[in-house]
Amino acid sequence: MKRPFPNLHFHNGSRLLLLITLIWLIQPAPLLIVPGPTQTVHTSRPIVGVHTRLTDEVEEWKIQRSLEMVRQMGAPWIVELFPWAYYHAADGGIAWDHPDMVIEHAHAQGLQVIARIGLTPGWARPPDTPLNYLDATAYDDFAEFAARFAERYQGKLAAIIVGNEPNLSFEWGYREGTAVDYTNLLKTVYPAVKAANPDVLVLGGALAPTLEPAGSPWGLNDLEYLDQMYVAGAADYFDGLAVHTYGLTFPALAEPAPDILNFRRVELVREVMLRHNDADTQIYITEFGWNDHPRWTMAVRPGQRIQNTLDAFTYAEENWPYVEMIAIWAFRFPAPTKSYMDNFTLVTPEFVTKPIYTELQEFTGNE
């Protein structure tokens, strides 16, 4: 039989190359994940939010799935950590890939994003200091990053929280971070962010609820610290106050008291604000919740956790007009923490919804 192309010969190398090309052509295309058209959060409870934990989430589909489930639960707000240390190189270069991914997917799901910015890159802190060490020499760099962040996500970012729980020495890398220190940080960051994006809100505080007395190496009572922030002139340098409040073993409606840590401690925070003539500033509760771990002494039963959570939202809606949103810590972790922290979540790392998720979904009218 006559060959159709008698002069066409393939050497072994060419055959191998051809084979590789064919294999490459027939391999499945990579998973295409796109944010998709912008969705709307359907909710009868616009106060409901969640603190997501997507910083450590590598796979894009999981980021998308998490945020989709937040929307389906009827929560219009997310709070998320965006660590300065992870993105910003000393030469000014910023790796935007991951924050872009989170912000774009959140925006596509119709969610309002409150970005908590913190953690200091190695080049901006002294050698042998921990990741959350921050001193005044790096305030300008921090402010520059916050401003660039705010500028980049115009129209997709509701607010920025400056730092986290500054009344704890841990959050300063175990240096003493006084209220004056933190106020100076706000004074540096606020004008920079506003110049870059006037629409984004700057939230101060996010103080840790604690009863630590003055002089403690660990921190300072949040009410006292807030008072000192006002005395230091912080009021003009935040648009809203971020507050953390945990119920621990108390019911949601338990009366607040200066020597007790419970959900309604927010009312004592508000009193401090009123004492300093700051009634117009809204509160954003960026962390709250109950825990139902069977081994943690500060935990409650799972059913109590559900009831307390629903009671808290209802109480806040009815009694706290000065509270804009309340975010549950935490929606989901990328992997088990292997501690009681796992029992703060609404969804498992495998995306299995816990009963509290279903109850909240019903609560927001999304059954």
Binding site: D292, R295, W296, R301, G303, R305, I306, K338, K354
Partner: protein, 297 residues
């Protein structure tokens, strides 16, 4: 270098290349010249193959020095870490520590001929305490976690705390979750039993779930004919059954949540000894007796 680095030095090994590839504290090598000159190429290749294969087998059978059990023996005491806030496994109410895990630790220590010393830690600090060698073993109702096995080793399980089905004592119809079609199961609101029942409801036709604030109330619903079965964790379920003989638990556990002893991953010798001791206690019936003492039959 890690603090264990010195244990990984090669001692007594005269073959220089082995120093880089073999981490054998007790390895001894006796290099021997092998004359291949008179053999055919095929025979030479075969011999090389066999030699390399033999070397690989030898290398993979190597173990690092592990004197973890000898250390315990020398000290004469087994240091047990626990968080004494979890009845009925370990509690210290001011009168001393007691509970199932305490009895188990004492039985193991007696079997091994050493004393036992209990060291308290908060739940979240247990593994750190073990990693930093403050204790030899954790016996604190700890569930086997695959994610931890890089740094820690678990013994054979000594108790399954998973979800169990509780039904009326005269029940002969319900044997598994699959038999709950058209029936009602009671659970504690928000519990793992609730999550599990919700998953089963996707596959079992007409499985109704009723929730209660506590596991005890879910079980009571079965007694009062408000539910056909209760799905609760083994600890709460068995504690309830101790005083209610009109109910029984089904022998097959619906989920598995195995409690085990924990040691550092390099302490294989100690792990072997503890496993042998658990097996001895199992065979003698002592383990069952300890469990029955605290959780009922």
């Amino acid at each position: 270098m890690s603090k264990f680095g010195s244990k990984l030095q090669v001692a007594g090994c005269k073959s220089p290349w082995l120093k880089d590839t073999c981490q054998l504290p007790h390895a001894t090598c006796t290099p021997r010249r092998i004359g291949f000159g008179s053999l055919s190429n095929y025979a030479k290749s075969s011999l090389w193959f066999i030699a390399i294969l033999g070397m690989m087998v030898w290398l993979t059978s190597c173990t690092t020095a592990d004197d973890s059990w000898e250390r315990v023996q020398a000290a004469g005491v087994l240091r047990v870490g626990l968080d004494p806030t979890y009845p009925p496994f370990e509690v210290d109410d001011g009168s001393g520590v007691y509970g199932l895990d305490v009895d188990l630790a004492q039985a193991i220590a007696a079997d091994l001929g050493v004393d036992v010393q209990f060291v308290y830690f908060g739940y979240d600090g247990l593994y750190d305490a073990l990693a930093t060698e403050q204790v030899d073993v954790l016996i604190s109702a700890l569930v086997i976690m695959v994610e931890r096995t890089r740094d820690f080793s678990y013994s054979e399980p000594y108790f399954n705390a998973g979800e169990i089905l509780i039904v009326p004592a005269d029940n002969s119809i319900i044997e598994t979750m699959a038999d709950l079609s058209g029936k009602t199961v009671a659970v504690e609101l928000g519990s793992l039993g609730h999550v599990e029942a919700t998953e089963w409801a996707k596959r079992v036709v007409d499985l109704a779930i009723v929730t209660f604030p506590t596991a005890d109330e879910a079980i009571t619903a079965v007694q009062q004919n408000d539910a056909d079965a209760a799905l609760v964790d083994a600890v709460n379920g068995r504690l309830y059954l101790r005083n209610h003989d009109d109910l029984k638990r089904l022998p097959e556990s619906v989920t598995v949540e195995p409690f085990a002893l924990v040691v550092r991953s390099e302490d294989e010798q100690l792990l072997d000894v503890l496993n042998q001791s658990l097996a001895t206690l199992q065979q003698s019936g002592q383990l069952d007796q300890i469990e029955a003492n605290w959780l009922g039959p």
